[in-house]
């Protein structure tokens, strides 16, 4: 149900673009106004979200330590653990690098199976890691490749990327390896939500919507490149794209409808981004279990909202138990006979 509703939503978006840019002929809305709005919402939304997180305090150092502490006795130092349990800022940068660039934590993934005869087995399970990596990197490559439409002259790196991505030289125009791989990865990410019972149970529309959206963007892009009736002339597309980035927007003639669908869906993705789980892109950098060094016994870290609390002082404790303490030969601060004069003090506040 959740998946079907999400699919319907994305299909509705496609219909909107087709009607709007096609039947109604308001290409300017879909080619200029919405894309500008999308970029604005994306940047402002992203920054607002990050600043919002930044405004929340980090009262305690709570890294999840995934290896021997580097801040321990020298006899226990282990050169590898500094990446899984760093004690220094530099080490933490290293940990974050591996986390963000190589998905270190996901690499640890295991799968549990209960075999007959009371045998609980754990096996390495790297599929999610592999396909997550493929998805994210192909997505990045694809975004970068598209800079060919938004730059003039096109930077050499982007040209190189384009050539490298199409180096297999199959199909005409040549197939981009990244397009193929991203579909495979997206397929994996989607199908596991359909067919793995626990995944189906935890999945929300917020998980299906971005998948369907990105799949639709990729497919519409590929239709424009490879499939006859959907093909579009790239020169007016470039004119439109350059118009946008040079702030002199134009909507040239001769752009196919598929392009507007593609462009609209991507605009929606940008607008959806800051309000969705996709913000993990920024959030991962601020995760307190990963981005803090494990040095909390070595250095004092102030809690910005630390406040005095009511404590039970030793004096109150002794008042409570003085008789028994004296009887048991435990040292007391005030001798027993003074107890009567003692007025019980209220709990003191301690910084």
């Amino acid at each position: 149900m959740k998946a079907i509703n999400s699919l319907i939503l994305v299909l509705a978006l496609i219909v909107i673009a087709m009607l709007g840019a096609g039947a109604l002929g308001i290409e300017y809305l879909f080619g200029v106004i919405i894309p500008y709005l999308a970029v604005l919402i994306f940047i402002v939304g992203f920054i607002t979200k990050m600043v919002g997180w930044g405004k929340s305090a980090v009262p305690f150092r709570i890294p999840t330590t995934c290896g021997q502490a580097t801040k321990s006795l020298p006899m226990f130092k282990d050169k590898w653990s500094r990446l899984d349990n760093p004690g220094t800022k530099l080490g933490t940068v290293g940990r974050m690098f591996f986390e963000v660039v190589l998905f270190r934590s996901l690499f640890r993934n295991t799968k549990v199976e209960l075999h007959p005869g009371q045998y609980v087995a754990y096996s390495s399970s790297k599929w999610l890691w592999i396909f997550a990596l493929i998805f994210h990197y192909t997505f990045l490559i694809i975004v970068l490749r598209h800079l060919r439409f938004f730059t003039e002259p096109i930077p050499g790196v982007i040209v190189f990327l384009d050539q490298a991505d199409s180096m297999l030289q199959i199909l005409t125009p040549p197939l981009f390896i990244s397009s193929l791989l991203i579909l495979v990865a997206l397929g994996y990410l989607l199908l596991r939500r359909f067919f793995v019972p626990s995944m189906r149970y935890i999945s929300q529309p917020a998980d299906y919507v971005p998948l369907f959206l990105i799949i639709s963007i990729v497919v519409s892009g590929m239709l424009m490149r490879y499939v006859g009736p959907f093909k579009t002339d790239l020169m007016p597309v470039k004119e439109l794209a350059m118009g946008l980035v040079q702030f002199s927007p134009t909507v040239p003639e001769g752009i196919g409808l598929t392009f507007y669908v593609h462009f609209f869906l991507f605009s929606v993705l940008l607008m959806y981004f800051p309000f969705s789980k996709l913000m993990h892109m920024g959030g991962v950098f601020l995760s307190p279990t990963r981005n803090l060094p494990n040095d909390s016994r070595e250095k004092h870290h102030a809690n910005p909202w630390n406040y005095p609390v009511k404590v039970h002082t030793y004096e109150e404790y002794e008042d409570d138990f003085r008789e028994k303490m004296v009887e048991a030969d435990l040292p007391v601060v005030k001798p027993l006979e003074e107890k009567a004069e003692e007025t019980s003090e209220n709990d003191e506040k301690k910084e």
Binding site: M50, V51, V58, P173, M242
Partner: protein, 124 residues
């Protein structure tokens, strides 16, 4: 805000990267749509302009296969209702005789680097 000294530079880098196309093109002249040097002698190519725009790469690719590998030489143009030799240099470039002013204009603008020229060495 806490940790502003990390978060703010991070956000600036993010914003700079994301807006790359906006500032990369700053100072450049306003983008001019590509104009092609078209042959003066003919109004039409072998097929319609729309078809040629979107399918010329496919057509050339097929020509190459059919001519070089299968040995057939002639292409029947529905538009012109006549046969043409399937040859990039002898047919296409007979009219579009300047690679730089025709082929490269669009290809350069879209980072397209077809491997036609790996074999066909066109002297400028």
């Amino acid at each position: 805000m806490y940790n502003a000294k990390y978060i703010i530079p991070g956000l600036i880098i993010f914003a700079l990267l994301f807006t790359f196309p906006f500032w990369y093109n700053l100072g450049a002249d306003a983008y001019e749509p590509v104009e092609l040097e078209l042959p003066e002698d003919y109004d039409d190519c072998l097929e319609s302009t729309e078809y040629m725009r979107t399918e010329h790469m496919k057509m050339l690719d097929e020509w190459r296969d059919i001519y070089v590998r299968d040995g057939y030489q002639m292409y029947w143009s529905e538009l012109k209702e006549q046969y043409f030799l399937m040859s990039l240099t002898k047919t296409c470039m007979d009219c579009h005789d300047n690679k730089e002013e025709f082929c490269d204009r669009c290809h350069d603008q879209t980072a397209v680097d077809p491997y036609c020229w790996d074999c066909h060495h066109i002297e400028p």
